[in-house]
Structures are given as structure tokens and as C-alpha cells.
């Protein structure tokens, strides 16, 4: 469903990623892993239209989207959860979720999606009237994911969902990602926490300073020597 080809992105004069190509098939969980500065976040931002590439194509259902605005991309069914819990403080949990459905007009569908999201994250329903800024880190991450799901995406882009979270939260967040995927949402995930990311992934790509250096199924990469050495500590 998503095909990235020869993607190059610059920030001013600095090249952040260089000729990256990868693909995501419908129904998959794909993980991009790599260290800080490998260009993972840049890739997601380019797909979701937050930044423009200097070169290369991003096609979604065989349609070029690399020049489209973020709004257009969301409308077409790609939803991006940015890195580091960007929830709207000063708004309640419920209002945050409402904002996720900002571009939707089908009120009934929004209502049923809200129920579905509360079933993934029961804690959000408990705290729906609470100011989002008062949630714990893990809860904020759940809220950011729930909010992204409110646009009913076909493809969910997750940027470091495990960042700064306690191990117990990481496990439950990744369980929910699997569940969301099972119910039909394709997931593109980027992570530094290579182990959990590869465990749930159908396929993975390893990035190093802006280039893809290795690819395979999640299992293959977990067992690969290079990945073991670089990310999993021998």
C-alpha cells in the first residue's frame, strides 16, 4: 500500500536521509530501526507531509503523495503519532480524542470509533474528563495513539511509542499495537528499542546514517549478528 522509492530529504544543506527505499504491504506491521540520527523521524514526517523531500517518491495505493499537504494525507487515511507525547494540555482527554476526528464529518462513525478506542485503552475512558496534561507519560502516549486512530487511518505511523516509558507500559502499548493491526490497520513503526519493535514486526528495515543497511522479517533481523551487535548488546 505504501511504496517509498529513492527518498532523499535535506534540512537546509544537511542531508538527513539518502536514497531510502522500502515498502509496506496492507495488513503488515513494519518496523524501521536505527540509532539516533539515522533519519527515522524524518522518514515518517516526509510520508505524513510535514516536510517535503528533495528527491524520490512516496506512493500510497499507487498515487504519488510526496507533494501533498499534511491535511490531504490525513484525509487519505494516513495518521501520524509524533515522537514524544504531543497531547493538547488544557483540553480534556475526550476533547483531545475529538480533535483526532477533526476532518471527519460522519458523526455516527466517530462515536463508534470513540467506543473502540476506549476499549483499547480503558484508562482513557476513566479519565475522559481529566486535563490531558495531568496524565502520566504512558497514558499520554496512549492518548496520542487513540487520537491518531480517531481519524480512522488505514495506515498508522508510530514514532518511538516506547520513548521514556516504564517497561510495563511498553509491553502493554505494543500489545495494543498488535491488536490494532489485527483489526485491519497497517502499522509503520520506528523505534530505538529494536527488540520489542522486531518482535511484533512482520518485516523490518535497519537504518544507519540515512541509509537502509539491512532488511528481513522481524525474526530474521532479531537473529542477525549485525543487529544483535549494534542494537541488542551482543
Amino acid at each position: 500500500m505504501l511504496e517509498v522509492k529513492d527518498l532523499t530529504v535535506h534540512y537546509g544543506a544537511i542531508e538527513a536521509i539518502h536514497n531510502i527505499s522500502f515498502s509496506v504491504k496492507e495488513g503488515e506491521i513494519v518496523s524501521l530501526i536505527g540509532a539516533n540520527g539515522a533519519g527515522k523521524t524524518t522518514i515518517l514526517k516526509t510520508i505524513s507531509g510535514l516536510i517535503q523531500p528533495t528527491n524520490g517518491q512516496v506512493s500510497y495505493y499507487n498515487k504519488a503523495i510526496e507533494k501533498e499537504s499534511a491535511k490531504q494525507v490525513v484525509k487519505e487515511g494516513i495518521s501520524h503519532v509524533p515522537e514524544g507525547r504531543h497531547v493538547f494540555g488544557g483540553m480534556t482527554v475526550f476533547e483531545n480524542l475529538e480533535m483526532g476526528a477533526f476532518l471527519r464529518k460522519d458523526k455516527e462513525g466517530v462515536k463508534s470509533d470513540l467506543k473502540r478506542i476506549y476499549s483499547y485503552f480503558p484508562i482513557l475512558e476513566e479519565r475522559k474528563k481529566q486535563d490531558a496534561a495531568t496524565l502520566s507519560g504512558g497514558e499520554q502516549q496512549m492518548l496520542a495513539m487513540g487520537r491518531a486512530l480517531m481519524s480512522r487511518p488505514k495506515l498508522l505511523l508510530l514514532d518511538e511509542p516506547s520513548m521514556g516509558l516504564a517497561p510495563i507500559y511498553i509491553q502493554s502499548i505494543f500489545d495494543i499495537i498488535k491488536e490494532i493491526n489485527k483489526e485491519g490497520t497497517t502499522v509503520l513503526l520506528i523505534e530505538q528499542n529494536a527488540k520489542v519493535a522486531l518482535q511484533i514486526a512482520d518485516r523490518g528495515y535497519v537504518l544507519e546514517s540515512g541509509e537502509v543497511v539491512q532488511t528481513g522479517t522481524g525474526q530474521e533481523l532479531l537473529e542477525s549478528d549485525a543487529v544483535q551487535k549494534a542494537y541488542l548488546g551482543g
Binding site: K71, K75, H86, G90, M99, F102
Partner: protein, 318 residues
Amino acid sequence: MSKRMKTILVWVGAAILGFALIQIAILTGWITRYYEMTLMLILINIMLAVGLNLIVGISGQLSLGHAGFMAIGAYTTGIVTKMMPNLGGFALGILGGVVLSGIVAYIVGIPTLRLKGDYLAIATLGVGEIIRITILNLDITNGARGLSGIPKLATWYYAYIVALLIILVAANYVNSSPGRATISVREDEIAAESLGINTKKYKMIAFMIGTMTAAVAGSFHATYYQLIVPSQFDFVRSIDILIMVVLGGMGSLTGSIFAAVFLGLLNHFLADYGAFRVILYAIALILVMIFKPSGLFGRKEIKASKLFNWKKKEASRS
């Protein structure tokens, strides 16, 4: 009766009551002509503070050029009403000022709204000064001598009604879907954009509504005081308005209204004390900033619906 209807009735009732009280006070001679000037100043300040709060409090863009947009309204209305000294001219002047202010805001908004925080503050400060200096150097505005002999067309009840309309527009905007989008941009621009919200568009809408209401306030200023000079619309005036917004609470419209009334009255009753007034004014501000840094109201609003809830609580208690 639905809760919404009740809320509307409470506000309409409060507005009529306020109007009636002022009217009675004038008829019984309790409010003299001198007091009426304070009343007018307060009403104009309410228009300015509510408008600036949309920009600073709701969309989170610090603007220091509000007086410039006020000047656009004041001069447009001043020039038009000197040619057409009747209510038609007044209405036309307001309309012209609003349109011109909106156009200027749009043009300067495209480059400046891309800036953030202190950079935006300095850019808007520059815009305000550019407007003032342009007026200072134009023939039609009569330069530094300003416009005098503007017909007195503004009355307190027009100002009262227009201030109410501005509050209504602002409150409706905040509670509308674009208003929500604007607040989300203030809270987190990255997240807002990732949800498909056009952040530039909503910042621009709030900026334009705010500057247009400033033009309306300027129109009332011109046709009440009958004399306008460029120095009335300098940087200090912008700061005056900003103080009201900050004191009342950035993001609270009722806070801005309260602050405009409070500071207006404070100025009025301390007028006899000369320099002492400025000191007290400064102390009041410092105290608020120490004990309530988010402003008197913070981001909270006085809501009519809370009145019903409070009644309900009372009822359930007894």
C-alpha cells in the same frame, strides 16, 4: 428548557441589566459627563482586550502591534466621518476600517505568523510602528497634528452594543470547531499539524478577527474623542492592551472583560493622585503576577452553566 437556552437567557439578561443600570445611573445624574468618559474608555478597552486575547490567549501568538490596527480603524473612520458627518458615515468608516485592517493583517500575517515567541513579538511591534509612522507621514491623515474636528457620533450605548457583539463573535469562535483547532495549535503545533489541521490558516483567522475588532475600537475612539494623533497609537498603547489580557488571564475572555473594567475604574479613581496612580497600578500588576502568574482568571471563564450546576449542588445538599 434546554441548558443552552438557559445559558443564552442568563447572558442576555445580564447584558440588558447592565445596560439598564448604566442608563438609570446616567438619568439620575450619578454618572456625570466625566464618568461617561471613563465608561467609554472601558468599553473601547473591552473591545481591544477581547480581540487581542483571541490572538495572544487563544491562538498563542504574542502580538505587540495591536494599537497600530486600532489606528487604522480610527483614521479610516475619522476621514470618512469628516466627509460624511452622519451615522451612515460612521457605519461606513467602521466597515472601511475593518476591511483595511483585515487586509493589512493578512499581508503582514503571511511572513510574521511563521515566527514564534519573542521573534513574533518583535515583528508585530515593528508592524505597529510601521503603521503609526506611515500615518505620521501621509497627507490625508494630516501627519503629526492629527485629525481634529471629527464629528461626535459614538455614544456609550452604541459602544455597549458593539462591545457585546465583539464578545459574542469571540466567544462563538472559541467554542466553534475552528476555535478548537486554533486552541490545539496553541497547545501543540506539531500534533495539530499531524492531525491534518492547517496551523497557518487558524493562526491567521484568529489574528485577522483580533485586528479587525481593534479597528472597530479605533473607530469608536475617533468618533468619541473627536481628535486623533498618531502618538495615541504607539507601542505604549499596545502594551496597555496586552496588560489587560495578561492581568485577566490569557485565554479567558471574561477575564479580559473584567480586567478592562477593573483597570478602567482603578485609573479613574486614582486620577486625583497623579504619579501615585502609576505606582499603585504597577503594584497591582506585580501582585497579580506573584500570586496568580496565569492572570486573575487563568484560562477559566465565568460560565452561566456553572450557575445552574451550583444551584443543583445546593439543592442536592439541602
